[in-house]
Amino acid sequence: MPAINWDDLQALADRLTQPGRNQADISDADLLMLDQALEQLRTAQDWPDIIRLRRMFNALLARDTFTGLLVMQRLSSAAITAAEQLGDKQELAHLLGAEGHNLHRQGYHRKAIEAFERSAQLFQETGDPYQSLKNYFMTSLCHRALGDRQRARQILDDVLQRTSPDDPWRGEPLQVMSWLTQDEGRLADAERLLREAIEHQRRGKDSDILVAGALTDLAEMVGLQGRVEEAKDLFQQSLSFLSRHEGQYNRQEARTRLKLADLLMQQKEYEQALQLLNEAEDRISVYGLYYDLVWRIEMTRAFIFFRLGHWTNALRKARSALHIRRRLGLSIRMLLRQLVSRLHAGTGLPR
């Protein structure tokens, strides 16, 4: 059995977390090295070293590109088992929170809620109420995705009450609150909340990606209110932030392109919108399994093909979106209800 080369594994983690074209130099052998190390540690039930290995890849697993790789998923679940075996509540709370994020990104919202709730509980038990609050907050995003907006709002109200007005993190619950407000058709109020959220996020440390995500939402909101040029400018600002982290936040980049494509569809610039959707799809289908974004891309394509009069493709894309949602355990009826209400209110496609 070969010995584990920790230096090489650290070097791999460093390469994978570098922005730019470095991923092009990563080979199957690199992933095999990680897989082999993990298998060896699991076979030997070497729990502390599994945690050590997982920590090496903490930054990578918190981002939006490589979390779909099978070896990364195996590493995450092995680390959770290791933390359980060691009885390390603090570590387990952290790992469950990260797992919740990844499940939510993929579209498995019910499982994500379980992970976040367990994480929040453990952080509470270990005397870290702030981290507990952050995980509790994350359940609001999942409830919203599952269509339970009332529960999502209750959680957000609770979270905002328990957060200091000058805390930069307050931007996150405010951002989600703006989505709920948008869902209700109150676009001007949603825009005000988002601008407030961005102000908070700008004050945070290393908050580029958060700001980029919020700018994307703001661009969508502004576009829905008919200020197209301003919206396009905001989309460009968001993409410019993301370009500084090339290859590290592919899902975020795809999300921004998807929303820009929505705007272009409204402007009847169908070819350009389809091109953007292809680019978005190419970004998330490399090393990630971000099904939750894939069905949205397919739904937007269905609308574009429908407007172009390409009926067959429109039906295929609608069927594709429904197929993926079904596989994620998401209600089709809820989607149709949202679709009708949001299109009627002019608040964009369901999110």
Partner: protein, 462 residues
């Protein structure tokens, strides 16, 4: 644009006429109302059918260019961030073929292409491109030939050309692996290519198009429709490389064929294609024939010497010889016209003499290939410490190539230093290069590879 608007106007008018005539038919039941309803319905249907046809036409693969020249696809692809995805699917050998410049040489009489009649003016490769360009052209290409004939090289050339001409925007597919690494021990296990199955292929494809798939729960065949739905509106080439056999009754072949369409071309490479004599219109087999024409062999050897003379200087001495018909005929007779065998033998001729060709045993195809590899392996064993190092180096390159690593000069240098054999490295490398056991595709940084048949041979050596 105007055409589309007119169609919409006609459609609206037809719909209104249909509604009015149905209402009239309910109240009066006259023949005129019935005729009007039928007429309006037909106009309505035909407006949709016409649009579907024009839509499909605008989507079809060859839209961007009316003609692909012979040198299309000569330039390697920059796979960028997708390199890992490609090498995970196809392995480093095929990925390398996609990336390298000028890895293909067109040879007279090598490609047996069934659509050639009427296109005699075109080279066979151009003829393949021409048929790909046509919306009614074949959708499934099966490239069939024995090992060493250049199946994967031709497949890579076609894929590169399609990408270069923006005729496809997605490369999907898989390669039937012949080796598998044990994740615990790191040992490489040999797999039989024939064991490659439909479920493995569908699993790979689902991952490539971001569709959830659980091989323990999902029926692979039922994923065909979701995959087609995912690919609707995009232009893809699906490559299935290195199959052992393809027959009409193969489940895998049928599944892959079902995926093919005007916007989704399928390329399969296989050693044997049997029972496919009655082919549907949308399928073609491209057989790679041995090189039996001396002029074709001459072209091939000129190309070979040009490609490899900078690393193996002795090849230059043969530049005059290869124009002698006697030599060419002898080479064809003894190698059966298989390109890889010719490359190995011509390297021996450069080291030894043309008499070597006559001393070859009466073996053909893979038996001769096996003989040549065995001979070389024994020779290296007899070369003392340098030969032993060359054997180790060969194993290193084969192993790392399988694992998807690019084997650079720097990597080999480090490896030799670790083994305290740096001073012997250049001699060992020369022993391999002059026997055509390794090929270096990047003279500056180094990019060493071995042929898949040699990798298989090395697996059997202890």
């Amino acid at each position: 644009m105007r055409k589309v608007r007119w169609r919409r106007v006609i459609r609206v008018l037809a719909a209104l006429a249909l509604v009015a005539s149905v209402l009239a038919l309910i109240s009066d039941r006259t023949f005129a109302a019935l005729a009007t309803a039928i007429g309006a319905l037909m106009v309505l249907i035909s407006s949709f059918v016409g649009e579907q046809a024009s839509q499909a036409e605008s989507n079809h693969l060859g839209a961007p260019s009316p003609f692909y020249p012979n040198d299309c696809g000569d330039k390697g692809l920059d796979l960028g961030q997708r390199r890992l995805q490609m090498s995970l699917a196809f392995g480093t050998y095929f990925t390398g073929l996609l990336e390298r410049d000028h890895c293909y040489v067109a040879l007279k009489g090598q490609i047996a292409w069934p659509d050639a009649s009427g296109q005699e003016i075109l080279e066979p490769v151009e003829s393949i491109f021409w048929s790909l360009d046509r919306s009614d052209g074949p959708q499934v290409f099966i490239i069939a030939a024995e090992g060493g004939m250049g199946k994967s090289t031709l497949a890579a050339k076609i894929v590169r050309c399609l990408v270069e001409k923006q005729a496809v925007d997605m490369i999907l597919g898989d390669s039937a692996k012949t080796q598998q690494v044990n994740a615990v021990t790191g040992e490489i296990n040999v797999l039989v290519p024939a064991y490659y199955d439909t479920t493995t292929f569908i699993e790979r494809l689902c991952a490539q198009v971001s569709l959830p798939f659980d091989r323990n729960r999902d029926d692979a065949r039922r994923m065909l429709t979701p995959i087609k739905d995912r690919l609707a509106g995009r232009r893809a080439v699906i490559v299935l490389d290195n199959l052992e056999t393809v027959t009409d009754s193969d489940d895998l072949y049928r599944v892959v064929s079902e995926l093919a369409s005007r916007d989704r071309r399928v390329i399969i490479t296989t050693r044997k294609a049997t029972g496919l004599h009655v082919l549907e219109r949308n399928k073609r087999i491209v057989h790679l024939r041995p090189l039996i024409r001396p002029d074709a062999v001459e072209d091939f050897l000129v190309w070979h010497i040009q490609q490899y003379q900078s690393e193996y200087f002795e090849l230059r001495q043969l530049r005059q010889d290869i124009h002698h018909k006697t030599h060419l005929t002898r080479l064809i007779e003894r190698t059966g016209g298989i390109p890889l065998l010719m490359q190995l033998v011509i390297s021996d001729v450069a080291r030894l003499s043309w008499d070597y060709v006559d001393r070859l045993p009466s073996l053909f195809g893979h038996e001769l290939l096996d003989y040549l590899y065995r001979e070389r392996w024994s020779e290296l064993g007899a070369c003392g410490a340098d030969g032993e190092l060359a054997q180790q180096l060969l194993r290193l390159i084969a192993r790392e190539q399988y694992q998807g690593k690019k084997v650079t000069l720097e990597r080999i240098g480090h490896w030799a230093q670790e083994h305290r054999r740096a001073d012997q490295l250049s001699t060992a490398a020369r022993l391999l290069i002059e026997r055509f056991l390794v090929v270096n595709h990047d003279p500056v940084r180094g990019n060493f590879t071995v042929f898949p048949s040699l990798a298989e041979f090395l697996q059997k050596q202890h």
